[in-house]
């Protein structure tokens, strides 16, 4: 093994050791830190994947809010077809 190969192998091993220490030790420890644990629990409970890059990667496709149902608001002061204000239905 020439000197360059040996130093490259050493750097590779050093990188692997650092990765194992961070991913195997530090990050799992961080999960016991209360604010981090709370955030992770909330996201898991709501089925949210914050790492989704695009909406198709979300756990569920985004639901338009209730006041959109049955009526695309194209002008101010629009109301639902039945005359009720759209935001009220879901909350009830």
């Amino acid at each position: 093994m020439c000197r360059n190969d040996r130093s490259a192998a050493l750097r590779l091993v050093a990188g692997a050791v650092v990765a194992i220490a961070v991913w195997g030790g530090l990050l799992p420890q961080l999960l016991s830190f209360a604010p981090v644990a709370r955030h992770v629990r909330l996201m898991e409970k709501r089925g949210v994947d914050p790492a989704a890059m695009y909406y198709t990667e979300l756990e569920r496709l985004p639901l338009p809010p209730p006041w959109v149902e049955g009526c695309v608001i194209l002008w101010p002061w629009s109301t639902a077809p039945n005359g009720a204000t759209l935001g009220r239905d879901r909350r009830e």
Binding site: A8, A9, R11, L12, G15, A19, W23, G24, L27, P28, L30, L31, V36, H39, V40, L42, M43, E44, R46, V48, D49, P50, A51, A52, M53, Y54, Y55, T56, E57, L58, R60, L61, P62, L63, P64, P65, W67, V68, C71, V72, I73, L74, W75, P76, W77, S78, T79, T85, L86, G87, R88, R90, R91
Partner: protein, 462 residues
């Protein structure tokens, strides 16, 4: 690399990406249609993410894990998922081989490297799947770049890997496939207030930030300014990839834009909900503000949901509207670049259209074609919408993820720290990002308050 064997069959990188990408989209649609459910084919409640597609079993991805990385190779039910993940890696080897064959390069020389790249992409996915990393939105492109940068700079790239280092090809093919997810009809889901929030603010911030970077901050690379502006104003990494490819940004410029976007996304995801609570904004305006400003889709949903269900729904929908703009923005950027930025004033005089066409990145046409076809199908009716959703969420989105991840590993392997250092040392890209994001925050809050909070208030609140 071996010489060209079949000159008549040789395709350049862009047409090869278009042929392979569109072929995959059509295959996904055909297979999903063949396996369509007999009962309740039009029921969104029964199929919330579209029709199940048999192709989903051929492209698994490593999942989330806490302290044992082996758990990444299990599905949500705890069953082993190594087979589908290996098949996902197999797709990379198949696409790399197809690209080599269409490009007139040696398939045999390319395959070993493609397999190693797929393994490294898998490693990047595993690193990004650790729960702290995943739930704080440090997405896989960052780890793919990090793995590539470390190996390329600290260890070195073996010679036999060189024929497979076609990062741009992987990203362009991924973008053509990505077109199937960019549905124009999604633009209308929030009606006029959604359109105003997403369409009024986004182009203004994009153009203003780009011009500020080029003319006021005098950043030498216009491509860097455009990629940074797009990833900050549209939707983060996916917009950076699409516009970066459209304006031919350098590898290190795209890496920098993605790194900055992910860094500030984490900060905004954590900081915006408490600030909004302190400001006392209503859930609809708050959701629209979050959806219009935080870069990454997942982070938008996370921040919105932490304010409540309604804010989460509005935030996700506004972001989805912005997501749908990627196609148009990438197309517009490609036209602007080909027609104006890259035009050589001293070069031979031809018509503007002719010159622009000569320089136009052809893969954008495949991206737009996939988007148009799937948007049209999606708009035909509820069954067709579930058909497209099933093909994209079940298969093409995952395959596109593998292609992007592999592309970023290649970019990392080919990027030198020395080339990246001047961009970081100058500090100007960071300053441009901050200026642009400040404008984005102010303008989005103003328009969201105007539309959702005042003009359309009667429609959105009791």
């Amino acid at each position: 690399m071996q010489g060209v064997r079949h000159p008549r069959m040789k395709l350049q990188e862009d047409p090869a990406a278009v042929v392979i990408g569109l072929g995959i989209v059509l295959m996904a649609l055909a297979v999903t249609w063949q396996a369509r459910p007999v009962n309740d084919a039009g029921s969104r409640e029964r199929h919330p993410k579209g029709w199940p597609t048999p192709l989903a079993a051929t492209v698994g991805m490593p999942g989330a894990w806490t302290d044992v990385p082996r758990d990444a190779f299990r599905d949500k039910q705890g069953d082993p998922a190594a087979g589908p993940i290996a098949l996902g890696m197999g797709w990379i080897a198949v696409i790399a081989a197809a690209g080599a064959a269409l490009g007139g390069r040696s398939v045999r020389a390319c395959l070993p490297g493609a397999i190693l790249l797929a393994v490294l992409a898998c490693l990047a996915y595993v690193l990004s799947g650790q729960k702290v990393i995943k739930y704080y939105n440090l997405e896989y492109p960052l780890w793919a770049l990090a793995v590539g940068l470390f190996l390329g700079n600290a260890v070195g790239v073996p010679r036999w890997l060189a024929p497979a280092l076609v990062g741009e090809f992987f990203i362009k093919t991924g973008l053509v496939i990505f077109g199937a997810e960019v549905l124009v009809g999604r633009l209308l889901v929030l009606g006029l207030p959604g359109l105003m929030t997403a369409w009024l603010v986004t182009p203004v911030v994009l153009v203003a930030t780009y011009l500020f970077g080029v003319h006021t901050m005098r950043i030498p690379s216009r491509a860097l300014c455009m990629t940074l502006s797009a990833d900050m104003s549209v939707c983060g990494v996916s917009a950076a990839i699409a516009t970066g490819a459209a304006c031919r940004a350098k590898k290190e410029e795209l890496s920098l834009a993605i790194g900055l976007s992910l860094f500030f996304t984490v900060i905004m995801m954590v900081a915006m909900p408490p600030v909004i609570r302190w400001m006392g904004l209503g859930p609809v305006v708050a959701g629209a503000w979050i959806g219009g400003t935080i870069d990454a889709t997942g982070a938008v949903v996370a921040a919105g949901e932490s304010l409540g269900k309604e804010a989460g729904e509005v935030a996700a929908t506004v972001k989805m509207i912005q997501n749908s703009m990627i196609g148009l923005i990438a197309f517009a950027v490609a036209v602007y670049w080909a027609g104006w930025v890259e035009r050589d004033p001293a070069g031979p005089r031809g018509t503007l259209v002719g010159e622009a066409w000569r320089r136009f990145p052809r893969f954008i046409l495949g991206f737009v074609a996939a988007s148009m076809v799937c948007s049209w199908l999606h708009a035909l009716g509820p069954e067709q919408a579930l058909w497209v959703d099933g093909a994209t969420t079940g298969f093409t989105a995952k395959l596109r993820g593998w292609l992007f991840c592999t592309g970023f590993v290649c970019m990392g392997l080919q990027t030198s720290f020395r080339e990246l250092a001047p961009y970081l040392a100058s500090g100007r890209p960071v300053a441009l990002y901050l200026v642009g994001q400040a404008l984005n925050l102010a303008l989005t809050l103003a328009v969201a308050s105007l539309t959702f909070g005042w003009l359309f208030r009667r429609a959105v609140e009791p």
